[in-house]
């Protein structure tokens, strides 16, 4: 078992706390079968893979994948990017990745060279976490690996995405907020982490629409988490109907409950 990144520095007032779905992501990507697939798809020598996590939250998934890039992709030259509509999540993620990478470096030192103090092993690099909606700030055709643990819970309405003015006026000065105002702000940001609107699919559908444009046309691949109420089989069917050779397969699940897989990770790619 690879260690889970430390998120003790993260305030979960407005950021999603790592949960079963986050851990399923870690397990699915580091499983023997999935890492073998990724290693063959991104075999060196080739351009450094660009990894993007959309809605990075605490950064636990991106920190894990970046720190363990050698085990997952077979390379130490992955470039990691993140987006989140919550600026605090971007701050948290940068820190989580940095801690995870250092921790991993120290560990591999201990294991591989018990004597002496050899040079640190170079690692993959986090480029930046950007405040933004889904993939909107990204150039088309650039992303090699996209990860998305969406707000997937069916709700009556899905919350509005913050605008540039709300994000500057409501964040960074929580000390000046009244208790009610802080509660309202926190509830709003938390709702963005889980509330998926109709069938829990309103945000995921927007991301799926953007996938063919944002992924690298030759080797791009996306991993998206779905819950049973999202109707994963229907979602996969819709992706296969995009045409152009798009495929969708389940590559991880949280176990079967009453005949249903509660959570699944779907891989979306083209051969």
């Amino acid at each position: 078992m690879l260690p889970t990144p430390d998120t003790s520095h993260v305030s979960f007032d407005t950021i999603y706390e790592p949960s079963e779905d986050s851990y399923l992501f870690l397990d699915a990507l580091s499983s023997a079968s999935e890492s073998a697939w990724l290693k063959s798809r991104f075999a060196a020598p080739s351009a450094s893979p660009l990894l993007l996590e959309v809605g990075c939250g605490s950064g636990v998934v991106l920190g894990f994948v970046t720190a363990n890039s050698e085990l997952i992709f077979g390379r130490r030259d992955v470039l990691a990017l993140a987006t989140d509509v919550n600026r605090d999540a971007c701050v948290a993620t940068q820190k989580t990745i940095q801690k995870a990478v250092v921790e991993r470096q120290v560990e591999s030192q201990d294991i591989e060279s018990p004597e002496g103090t050899p040079a640190k092993k170079p690692t993959s690099v986090a480029l930046s976490a950007v405040t933004g909606n889904l993939t909107s700030p990204l150039r088309p055709g650039t992303i090699d690996i996209l990860l998305f643990n969406p707000p997937y819970v069916p709700t009556e309405e899905s919350p509005e995405i913050p605008s540039s003015s709300t994000s500057t006026s409501t964040q960074g000065d929580s000390a000046n907020l009244s208790r009610t105002a802080k509660f309202e702000r926190d509830s709003y940001y938390l709702s963005l982490t889980y509330a998926g609107g109709r069938d829990g699919m309103e945000t995921t559908d927007k991301l799926l629409d953007a996938i063919p444009e944002v992924l690298d046309p030759n080797r791009g691949v996306a991993y998206v988490l779905l819950c049973a109420q999202n109707r994963p089989e229907e979602v996969k069917g819709r992706i296969r109907e995009w045409g152009g050779g798009w495929k969708a397969e389940t590559v991880g699940n949280s176990g079967v409950q009453a005949g249903w897989e509660k959570l699944v990770i779907v891989r979306i790619w083209r051969d």
């Binding site: 660009l50 700030p137 995405i161 003015s165």
Partner: protein
């Protein structure tokens, strides 16, 4: 935010996506910082392969960053240790702490504060 990030970004406004003027975004009023990153020559070569060199070159010129070649290095140039180190410093060690990124197509300004760029749009543009 590492400078290399800008090679993968464009204006968040849909109408700008296809416009050549929307890439690269232009820096204004930037404060840069250096942060040590372990130098791996192979990493830099694998980055060179994937970057849009024209975009990179424009950014280097706007920031007055020296020693960035006009043309994408190929062949023997990729064995030039000094060049790889210069690029390493430019792309992976240089961080933008404060400033703005501006779209050359629509003029929209994206603020960078404490190393984090804000690409959320005002409500009338969403």
């Amino acid at each position: 935010m590492k400078l290399l990030t800008v090679n993968f970004l464009t204006c968040a406004i849909k109408a700008c996506k296809g416009s050549p003027a929307a890439f690269p975004l232009h820096f204004r009023d930037v404060e840069l910082e250096l942060q040590d990153v372990d130098f791996q020559p192979e990493f830099i070569r694998n980055i060179i392969t994937r970057v849009d060199w024209e975009g990179l070159n424009k950014m280097a010129n706007e920031l007055n960053f020296p020693n960035i070649p006009e043309m994408k290095p190929e062949g023997e140039a990729l064995e030039n240790d000094q060049l790889l180190k210069d690029l390493h410093r430019f792309l992976l060690e240089t961080q933008v702490a404060e400033g703005k990124l501006i779209c050359g197509n629509c003029g929209h300004e994206y603020m960078i504060k404490e190393g984090i760029a804000n690409f959320l749009l005002p409500s009338h543009l969403v």
